[in-house]
């Protein structure tokens, strides 16, 4: 039997107008970072790594003592153009909370985003344990809204499962975190199943968080590890295009060759307006890293780059598809392609059915041929 509730709860919810963050019932920040240092967590190392690493003596040449790999990339933080706050204590966290204004946060690491790249599997597992001990001892405080994610080392899935079991009942542990940027094998591999089983039984969600400095190092082995066609095909076209476009834009290729046109093929559509905005977003804080550019990266894409349609995703969701095409001004840059006879070819009329609901006849003519007649050297 269903009971329709016309009571106060419904009406009070309906009356609550959200004008600013002050009107929200709760703000949960699901990714609020510590900037922990190796020296914060080394005192929490357990045997045998406590004895091995905490009696360090002698000269380490300035880098041998660091067990987390450094990528060496020059960021706005590296050069002082962005002044990232230090967050290594509860007090530091409260300072950040005053700015971001949350009620609860899941506290996540920074240096330990590189844990998956630590070049010693057993040490990586020990570091995860030490980090969690430090986190629980000095950071987590559920009465004050400070929750943590238990860190696990992907290098040792069985130990990771044991770590989850050890921490699952601790107050303030609200999730498990896999530093996913440098996993090898990929997270579908059966070696992780004990970890997933432990998290499922504990009722803890798994946070996956990459670090830009680790993920690229795994690309060749990542490709090798995707031992089926489906994951390769669904990701590689758009990933590769994003990587090439990012490099071409940063080095100013369209600025150096202003009369040159490029056509991006066979990668679907949704990633493209995403990439335009994501790259513009990063560029606004890193103009110094792409000094060749005279306008926003997305403007070069709109002026000198074209996209072919196949394989169109979302044909069963016309609103998604028409909005996506508008979001990169596809009426001027999208060109029909079939990909015949490949197994994922698009029949000519499929996209047309969708376009008719949103685009003018002239725009549809562009997509189906007029734009191509302007782009290609038919004469």
């Amino acid at each position: 039997m269903y009971v329709i509730d016309h009571g106060d709860r419904m009406s009070s919810t309906a009356e609550r107008r959200i004008r600013s963050i002050d009107d929200l019932e709760v703000v949960v920040d699901t990714d609020f970072h510590l900037t922990e240092r190796q020296e914060d967590i080394f005192p929490y190392l357990e045997s045998p790594f406590d004895e091995l690493l905490n009696s360090q003596q002698g000269d380490d040449y300035g880098y041998l003592g660091r067990v987390y790999p450094a990528h060496g990339m020059v960021y706005s933080v590296t050069i002082g153009k962005a002044d990232s706050e230090t967050v290594r204590t509860k007090e530091d966290i409260r300072t950040g909370r005053d700015l971001v204004e949350w009620d609860k946060a899941i506290i996540t690491p920074t240096q330990n985003l590189y844990l998956g790249a630590v070049h010693h599997d057993d040490l990586a597992a020990a570091l995860a344990t030490a980090y969690n001990s430090w986190l629980l001892d000095e950071i987590v405080d559920p009465d004050d809204g400070l929750y943590g994610a238990a860190l696990v080392a992907p290098q040792k899935p069985q130990k990771a499962a044991e770590e989850v079991e050890r921490r699952a009942d601790e107050d303030g542990i609200a999730a498990v975190m896999i530093p996913s940027g440098s996993v090898d094998p990929l997270l579908g591999h059966e070696s992780y199943y004990p970890l997933y089983d432990a998290c499922e039984r504990a009722g803890l969600p798994i946070k996956m968080h990459n670090a830009a400095g680790t993920m690229m190092t795994r690309f060749p082995s990542t490709w090798q590890a995707m031992d089926r066609a489906l994951p390769v095909h669904a990701t590689s076209h758009n990933m590769m295009h994003q990587t090439n476009l990012a490099d071409m834009l940063t080095r100013g290729v369209p600025e150096r060759f202003p009369d040159l046109t490029f056509v991006i093929q066979e990668s679907g559509l949704g990633w493209y307006p995403y990439f335009m905005r994501r790259f513009d977003h990063d560029y606004m804080g890193a103009k110094w890293d792409a000094p060749m550019l005279e306008k926003r990266p997305s403007e070069y894409l709109k002026d000198q780059f074209y996209v072919t349609s196949q394989p169109v995703e979302g044909l069963d969701d016309p609103e998604y598809l028409t909005e996506t095409i508008r979001h990169f001004e596809g009426e001027d840059s999208l060109m029909f392609s079939s990909d015949y006879p490949h197994f994922d070819f698009d029949n000519t009329g499929e996209l047309l059915k969708i376009l008719r609901s949103e685009f003018s006849s002239e725009e549809i003519q562009n997509v189906y041929g007029k734009t191509a007649e302007r782009v290609y050297a038919f004469d």
Binding site: M284, K287, W288, R296
Partner: protein, 127 residues
């Protein structure tokens, strides 16, 4: 500096900031004038006044690093340029040219600038 030592100013749109000698080259002072935080920089012997409110997400834009930026020369080689004329907002590293308030990457974002006057060794911002 007490009120009495300042020279008489005949305009009420000029707001006293500091004695000119108290802002060394490469230094800045941030003051509140009519409810606005305004930074006055002494850069390469020139005084520049800008809003301290970042047009991006409201960070304290003028409290960040004052330096130069990377550019390219006529051979497209990387060169250091605009030394002491680029301030980076400490929140996200957005760079602004303190000589005119423009963002280094986009004309859509600009920090408001104000005219600076020096009279009898005292610095005033026009507002």
């Amino acid at each position: 500096m007490s009120e009495s030592t300042r020279p008489n100013i005949d305009r009420d749109d000029l707001h006293h900031v500091i004695a000119a000698q108290d802002i060394a080259d490469g230094e800045r002072v941030i003051v509140e004038i009519a409810g606005r935080e305004i930074a006055v920089f002494n850069s390469n012997g020139e005084l520049h006044a800008l809003s301290n409110y970042c047009t991006h997400q409201g960070g304290p834009a003028c409290e960040g690093l004052l330096s130069g930026t990377l550019d390219v020369d006529e051979d497209d080689e990387l060169v250091w340029a605009c030394e002491d004329e680029i301030v980076a907002c400490p929140w996200h590293g957005w760079e602004f040219d303190i000589t005119d308030g423009t963002h280094t990457a986009s004309d859509d974002y600009r920090l408001p600038t104000y005219d600076v006057h020096v009279r009898d060794g005292e610095v005033y911002v026009e507002l």
